[in-house]
């Protein structure tokens, strides 16, 4: 039996002290102010407007994500108030039906894609380096790129409402309602293209979060001892890497169907609308846990600190997070209990959906046990945590109810579900986020809050919330379906709706007061003293507000918690100052946290903004229907991507960086296993999931869709077979070349092998072009359309792999490689292998289709 005593000072994790594993001597102390000036000159954003556009600093970008998300939250909230105003009375002649459909679609879309996900991304970007003991995220330019994609995509989605062409098919966009026949306008394209554009930021953030947690922790911080927030966000990021690709694939397929008439979801030509539902909910259910996990991470961080104790059951909570990540991918079908799937299959998903309550319950009881163990201080964040308990527990229980198949058959698509999902999302995400904001505000702005306002806002939100949604369960059980604007024949629903509408306005007033309170704190709060919550975690081991570089010297085994604030500021930690005038942070081994090398991170640059504008030009061409312009956007994106590589690497060997007395580590240019390589692996995990989703689509349509088998195919010709074999052979040769280019990099053969790689890439792409010419008409049948997509997938990766071969060639020409420096070829190898592997799998698949029919 494990018993943790309340007086335990080790709040990060219940384990032995870290110094045992690794001893690194302290650097000599220096003047903190001089160190601050040296670092701030390197890390701060450029002054004025230019700084706004060029910033890549995680502090700036993370806050900007959160502020933007809150603006979108306000817009989504206004839409919610319009919905409540419309439903307050039976006849609600306030909005017309078309506008009402746009408004509820946009409310859901904004809250999910433009508020919840970006809010958690912003929190992660802003918080992670601080709580893990790093100076920035692993890929600062990627943070900025994600932000601009989010900003542009989100703006287009919201502006469509102003022009009256907002999406109006529901936030779930079910086909056939969302296809060209039933939604001829641009509305559905706004959703598909806008959301996909925004999702670039989700994938970017997921890669960054994964790599930062695995490799940018404080020296000596073993994975098994990192703050729980790290585990929660690692779970979140992995779920995003695996959860978003099905949605991105579905959106691409549906947009291609709308734009070019390829019939993936059209029954008459071998498609099936249920494929969309599977792809959407394969994303959509994990999405709920993607939103919940960071919020639960905030709770697991704040509850022990405000209870003056340590968390109960660190290991059990990590196991619960892992369980949630795993289980959440096995329950998407509970959104589809009424589509006619056999009951025994539903039983599996019903049990899985109920089972997911177990890891959640483990956390709830761990939090209550933690409070039992400690002494709860009723500060403002704790109030919001009470709001979480009062709301989320009920939301979880109604969730279990909805997981029961027979009850789901009645409650599905009624206001019972509306009530449930708001209990879960506001209880499980918004209340914890409000707790998090009020908890970390002193670190954000360096100020303490104004008395009284925060409490008033809390009570307004809590009372408003339950007043709006508690009785809505009954509204649903009385039969009121979702997504209707008037109910003239059902007076029995009116009093319930009126109550919901009145309290909805109370809740809105509460959120407005919350925002007002935050602004007041920022402007007029008194200066906060350091570490006001007396927290042990590293995010408080810095002066307030957090400086641009976070730590003047980095935490390590000797300085592993917030008590090291002053020694770190005096440069006694690792890698003090910015002696080379570069932005540097420590990179560690993923498991042990042993320092491995020093990463030189990007400075302020316009490149992320330019890149997102280039990607945006492609989306704009697609959205406006000028499809012939889309290739220009692709070329611009390739050009911008090429520029990213230009400022990576270096043309000379650098001496090792002095991290601590007796510890000198190489810069990342002289390491093979860099952050970029780990990031590429994370990207390929998402990419592989996209491919697996595509294969799922092929399998699903083959087995389930009504109009199969497909008509006779004309692709089984000798020239096509030869072209496919040439393509695969060239890819395999390219793979050999990518490895040889690295091993022979110090000789002239290195450049030759890179050129061979480029040549094989071009040859393989030419062979793929021959195959494209020999394809059956992809508008004829879903099988042919999917083959077109499979081929497009191979072409896309061929272009990327060939560009990386070209980059390796440039590395050799520009002297960016040496015995110590490997250049871009390790990344090229990974992409080349992925290209070959997926293409070979596609070839076998199509061969099997041809042979078996």
């Amino acid at each position: 039996m494990t018993v943790t005593s309340p007086a335990d000072p080790r709040a990060i994790a219940p384990s032995e002290p870290m110094v045992d594993a690794l001893d690194i001597a302290a650097n000599p102390p220096r003047r903190a102010l001089a160190l601050h000036r040296e670092l701030d000159a390197v890390w701060r954003d450029e002054p004025g407007w230019r700084g706004f556009f060029t910033s890549v600093n995680h502090g700036t970008i993370g806050l900007r994500f959160m502020v933007t998300a809150f603006v979108f939250f306000a817009i989504g909230g206004v839409l919610a108030m319009l919905i409540r105003a419309q439903l307050a009375t039976q006849q609600g002649a306030f909005l017309d039906l078309d506008l009402y459909n746009q408004i509820f679609t946009m409310h859901g879309t904004i809250m999910m894609f433009l508020f919840a996900i970006p809010m958690l991304e912003g929190l992660a970007l802003w918080l992670l380096p601080k709580i893990l003991g790093a100076r920035d995220m692993a890929f600062p330019r990627l943070s900025a790129l994600g932000y601009w994609c989010y900003f542009f995509g989100g703006s287009v989605i919201v502006l469509s409402l102003v022009f009256g062409v907002a999406p109006d098919d529901g936030w779930f966009m079910y086909t056939p309602l969302s296809d060209r026949t039933h939604s001829p306008g641009v509305n559905a394209d706004v959703w598909l293209l806008g959301v996909t554009f925004v999702e670039i930021s989700a994938i970017a953030a997921a890669i960054e979060i994964t790599v930062t947690i695995l490799r940018c922790r404080a020296g000596g911080m073993a994975l098994t001892r990192m703050p729980l927030m790290g585990w929660y966000l690692l779970g979140t990021a992995v779920m995003m890497l695996v959860g978003f690709p099905p949605l991105i694939l579905g959106s691409i397929l549906l947009e291609v169907q709308r734009a070019f008439d390829w019939p993936f979801f059209e029954v008459a030509r071998g498609g099936d609308p249920l494929l969309w539902q599977h792809l959407f909910w394969l994303f959509g259910h994990p999405e709920v846990y993607i939103i919940f996990l960071p919020a639960a991470g905030a709770l697991s961080t704040i509850i022990p600190i405000l209870s003056r104790t340590t968390i109960l059951g660190y290991g059990a909570i990590v196991a619960a997070v892992a369980g949630l990540v795993f289980l959440s991918f096995g329950l998407w079908v509970h959104h589809m209990f009424t589509v006619g799937i056999p009951h025994m299959a539903l039983a599996f998903f019903s049990a899985a959906s109920a089972l997911v309550a177990v890891p959640t319950a483990i956390q709830i009881f761990a939090w209550i046990g933690t409070m039992w163990m400690g002494q709860v201080q009723f500060r403002l964040p704790m109030l919001y945590i009470m709001g979480f308990f009062a709301t989320f527990v009920m939301g979880g229980l109604t969730g279990v109810m909805l997981a029961m198949v027979p009850f789901n058959w009645q409650a599905h698509d009624t206001h019972f579900v509306v009530a449930h999902l708001h209990y879960v999302l506001i209880g499980g995400f918004v209340f914890p986020m409000l707790a998090a904001v009020s908890y970390w505000m002193p670190l954000i702005c360096g100020r303490w809050r104004v008395r009284g306002l925060g409490e008033a806002a809390f009570w307004l939100i809590l009372i408003g919330f339950h007043g709006t949604f508690f009785l809505m369960h009954l509204t649903g059980l009385l039969g009121m379906p979702r997504r209707i604007a008037i109910y003239p024949a059902n007076p029995e629903w009116e009093w319930l709706n009126l109550i919901s509408s009145i309290f909805g306005m109370v809740m809105a007033a509460g959120f407005a007061l919350f925002a007002f309170d935050v602004v007041m704190q920022w402007l007029f709060g008194r200066r906060s003293w350091r570490n006001p919550w007396r927290a042990p975690t590293l995010d408080w081991a810095m002066p307030l507000p957090a400086p641009s570089y976070n730590f003047a010297s980095l935490p390590g085994p000797r300085h592993s918690d917030a008590t090291a604030l002053l020694p770190l500021a005096r440069g006694e930690g690792l890698l003090p100052g910015a002696p080379r005038g570069w932005r540097e942070t420590l990179v560690v081994e993923p498991g042990s946290g042993k320092p491995d090398h020093v990463a030189v991170l990007a400075h302020s640059t316009l490149l992320p903004l330019q890149t997102s504008a280039a990607i945006g030009s492609f989306f704009a061409a697609m959205l406006s229907g000028f499809y012939w312009l889309a290739p220009v956007g692709i070329l611009l994106t390739i050009w911008a991507g090429w520029k990213w590589g230009d400022i990576m690497g270096t043309d000379r060997d650098h001496p090792p960086a002095q991290v601590a007395p007796g510890l000198a580590l190489p810069l990342h240019f002289q390491r093979r296993n860099t952050l970029a390589r780990t990031g590429t692996l994370a990207l390929l995990l998402a990419d592989g999931t996209l491919y697996a989703s595509l294969m799922f689509g092929v399998g699903f349509l083959t087995v389930v869709a009504p109009n199969w088998p497909a008509p006779e195919s004309g692709i089984a010709t000798l020239p096509n077979l030869l072209a496919a074999l040439v393509a695969l052979g060239a890819m395999a040769l390219g793979l050999v070349a990518s490895f040889r280019a690295e091993t022979t990099r110090t000789t002239p053969m290195g450049a030759t092998w890179a050129m061979v790689g480029l040549g094989t890439g071009v040859l393989a792409l030419a062979a793929l072009a021959v195959l494209a010419y020999g394809l059956d008409d992809p508008t004829r049948h879903a099988r042919d359309a999917l083959r077109g997509v499979v081929l497009g997938f191979a072409v896309f990766h061929g272009v990327v792999a060939s560009l990386l071969a070209l980059r390796s060639l440039a590395d050799h020409r520009q002297g960016r490689v040496s015995a110590a420096r490997v250049g871009a070829s390790p990344i090229w190898q990974l992409f080349q292998l992925f290209w070959l592997g997926t293409s070979a799998a596609s070839f076998i698949l199509i061969l099997a289709q041809e042979v078996l029919t």
């Binding site: 177990v358 409650a411 599905h412 629903w493």
Partner: protein, 226 residues
Amino acid sequence: MLPVPLLAACDGPLSTLEPSGPAARDVAILWWAMLAGSTLITLMVGAMLVLAIRNKGGRASERHWIWGWGLGFTLSVLTVLVGFSLWLGERMLARADDALEVSAHAAQWEWRFIQPGPDGQPVATLDTLYVPAGTSFDVVITSEDVIHSFWVPQLGGKMDAIPGHVNRHRLRADAPGVYEGLCAEFCGIGHNFMRFTVIAYDPALPMPDMSEAMAPFADNQAEMLP
């Protein structure tokens, strides 16, 4: 005195809490049972929270909180609930017996039904379905265009109408009467008004007059009835 207005609040032509058939009644029983259990659990967690806050420091064991409550308690409750629900669900399924079959074909934004008429011949109707009371019947559900969902709350759960798919849904009305139905899946601008009525008639009496609701047969609809 309190239960009277509360129960009255549960009435309504679309209320799942005023069941008139076996499927809806089973779900209503499940609901009241789950409501009672959930209320107890909510109160219990609330009480634990209050005690934990009032407790000024003490020892806490993982075995008690995490293995006992988090895992043991939760799993036991869920196992019982899932088992009971699956048993209920199995009872509601359409099975291969010679139950009466009617067709419901959804289109934007109307319901076309085919059911046996007075002389035993199939009759096509618009937005009104005629079935005998006290007998189980299977609704064979199809769609013309987009996804719709067939729902008569007082008789039972809903079942989607999906293009290219044929779904089967078993229902029964215990007593003669008029039961309101609606499309539960958002299907476009007319979704709001895609309502229908199920008239359960007394099989011992002469059949009701269907002429008011009669409509021409929709293309292919009759073929979808097996």
